[in-house]
């Protein structure tokens, strides 16, 4: 199972929540599969999906899910201690870990080799960290939402991409639409 198949599976769960989508293919795939005003698409700035999502979660009460990748978490490793030490129980970080930099041509990441992001997140102090198989992502995600406890999910999947169009929406439109959805 590859990332786009996970996203297709969990789209009905994500639909009702605030979602911050990682740069590149994850945003493009979510935009193609189920575009919602509650989705914030990152058009640039690799690595910051988890930080943006945590900021949204700390600023208001609705559940926020950051969809991140193993490569992006490695880029912004400092995010895990910040998350661990600023507990927002309306926040879920979903790391789709395919062991590769998918958007740039599937170059291998260290997370697919010796480094376990699950172990790193725990070592950083994150209290609820769940590693799951790609097929179980929906079940684990729904349980995390229902638990109302800050949760880091590491969903292990295969690398691989589908062909998707780039997002041509204006960034200010994406941002404004998302902010209205936060307020509604």
């Amino acid at each position: 199972m590859i990332r786009s198949e996970i996203l297709r599976n969990i789209a009905p769960i994500l639909r009702d929540e605030l979602v911050v989508c990682n740069i590149g293919l994850p945003s493009q795939e979510m935009h193609l599969i189920d575009d919602q005003p509650t989705n914030f698409y990152m058009l640039g700035t690799m690595g910051l999906s988890s930080s943006i999502g945590l900021g949204v979660a700390l600023a208001q009460d609705k559940t926020v899910i950051s969809i991140d990748g193993d490569g992006s978490v490695l880029t912004n490793f400092g995010t895990l201690p910040t998350i661990a030490n600023n507990v927002a129980n309306n926040y879920i970080l979903l790391i789709i870990d395919n062991g590769s930099y998918g958007s740039t041509g599937d170059q291998p990441t260290y997370a697919g080799q010796k480094t376990s992001l699950t172990a790193v997140a725990r070592a950083c102090g994150c209290e609820s960290v769940i590693e799951c198989k790609a097929e179980d992502t929906g079940k684990v995600l729904q349980a995390a939402i229902d638990s109302k406890k800050m949760t880091i999910i590491v969903a292990k999947c295969e690398s691989g991409n589908i062909k998707v169009p780039v997002i041509t929406k204006d960034p200010v439109v994406i941002r404004e639409r998302f902010m209205q959805a936060v307020k509604s």
């Binding site: 640039g44 700035t45 930080s51 949204v56 700390l58 994406i174």
Partner: protein, 167 residues
């Protein structure tokens, strides 16, 4: 009222409730004052671009953010400033210690100081330079200006402003 207390009072008066910081010796007093303020959620960042991501999220979640950092951070945050804060048109007051100016004891800090204003200028970031203690009087108006125009705005604060580098 100390300069640090005045800065925090202006942040609170302008409804800035979410402040991220990366420390600098020159900023120790103001970071301490931010941390003690019951009206501000203080979230230390490990790196300034991470902090700008947190601020972008807080803004979209309905809270006014600010970042406090050193000018060396301009070197690490250009991509974030351009592709996140500016591209999505988000306001971000940046209170920046301007290391490498007069009274600086560490030579290496000058290397970034000579690029700081040029980089901010290249990025079309409105930039203010606090050199005398009384310059802090403009801070309130700068905050209002930032949230009026939805841009990142830089406030450079040098050693003279802070009363020296702990000499």
């Amino acid at each position: 009222m100390t300069v640090s207390e005045k800065i925090v009072a202006d942040l609170v008066a302008n409804n800035v409730q979410f402040v991220t910081t990366v420390p600098c010796k020159q900023l120790a007093g103001v970071i301490d004052a931010v941390d003690k303020s019951p009206d501000i959620y203080h979230i230390p960042s490990n790196k300034e671009d991470e902090g700008m991501g947190l601020c972008a999220g807080a803004y979209m979640g309905g809270k006014r953010p600010a970042i406090i950092m050193q000018n060396t951070a301009i070197g690490v945050t250009i991509n974030t400033l351009v592709t996140l804060t500016q591209y999505y048109r988000m306001p971000l007051p940046m209170l920046i210690s301007y290391r490498g100016e007069l009274r600086e004891p560490v030579a290496c800090q000058v290397e970034m100081a000579v690029h700081t204003k040029a980089l901010l200028n290249q990025l079309n970031i409105p930039t203010y330079h606090f050199h005398k203690e009384s310059d802090v009087d403009e801070f309130d108006e700068i905050l209002k200006y930032t949230f009026m125009c939805n841009k990142p705005v830089a406030i450079l604060t040098d050693a003279s402003f802070w009363g020296g580098y702990g000499e």
